[in-house]
Symmetry: C2
Subunit: 146 residues, 2 copies
Amino acid sequence: MAMPASTTLLAWTRLLRAADLASQHCAATLRTLGLPPPEWYDVLLAIERSGALRPRDLQAALGTEQYALSRLIDRMVKAGLLQRVPCAEDARGYLLHLTIEGRAMRAAMWPLYAEAIETALGARIAEEDCTVLARLLAPLTEPISA
Amino acid sequence: MAMPASTTLLAWTRLLRAADLASQHCAATLRTLGLPPPEWYDVLLAIERSGALRPRDLQAALGTEQYALSRLIDRMVKAGLLQRVPCAEDARGYLLHLTIEGRAMRAAMWPLYAEAIETALGARIAEEDCTVLARLLAPLTEPISA
DNA sequence: GCTAAGTAGTTGCACTTGCATGGACATTCC
DNA sequence: GGAATGTCCATGCAAGTGCAACTACTTAGC
């Protein structure tokens, strides 16, 4: 039951603050443009990349809570971007495909999403620092065990 | 309108994922113990440190949205942890003080909050790396201009 | 093959959040 | 000193989230 070092606390507050600012900026930018929020893009991209995905695989890929994902999918299906198709090997689940509109939406979102990322992160930190940052953060992206 | 470098994108995804995992772990830990969420601690600490604070100063200190803070304060007042006292210099606002219970709650939360931080961050990264991380994140904790 | 246990996904309910707006006081400018 | 503008905080409403069940199918054990 070790207490955190002061440097740990500093990193903690900055990590949360930086991530919050960055994601807020991104979400706000897309919203202002009348586009869906960033999560939608992540879902569209993940599905496009693998052709078709089951909810549980999306869940693993995105780290979203299961119930949150369930409803997110609902919304995206209602919006006409995704399509549920019955799954042959497992009747409990289904496969998610992109519709034409889904594909178009992903393509339309990317440049604006990318620009927001550049503004929020790329333009605020040197590229070498970015590389180091990514390396340092790597272990923190794995599930927390204890 | 520059596009992000690939290293920027990697840092982006890791930053968001790491922060999400860490804060989720923390919130879940406190919740499991029957304690209020981390934001409450941050509010209690900020007020305790300065003796009394106005909502707008809290807002600046914590980076919370104005309406979110307004309701958060409401809940904490209802829970008996905070107390609103009229503000002499500005009748629009008020000063926030900790109640005895508020002070006790902050003290009670700290060891468990701290342990969660240690588990989520300190124990997963070398201390030198933590220092570097904090330094790299510093520019990202400032408000995004453009 | 039948039961028990596990996994995939959904949903009711209470709570929180986001956005837009509103009301109250303060400040500025004439 | 009075209107216009700005700042501080609250709130209605719609939408999202978290937790805890719940249904439906699958797998394991026997």
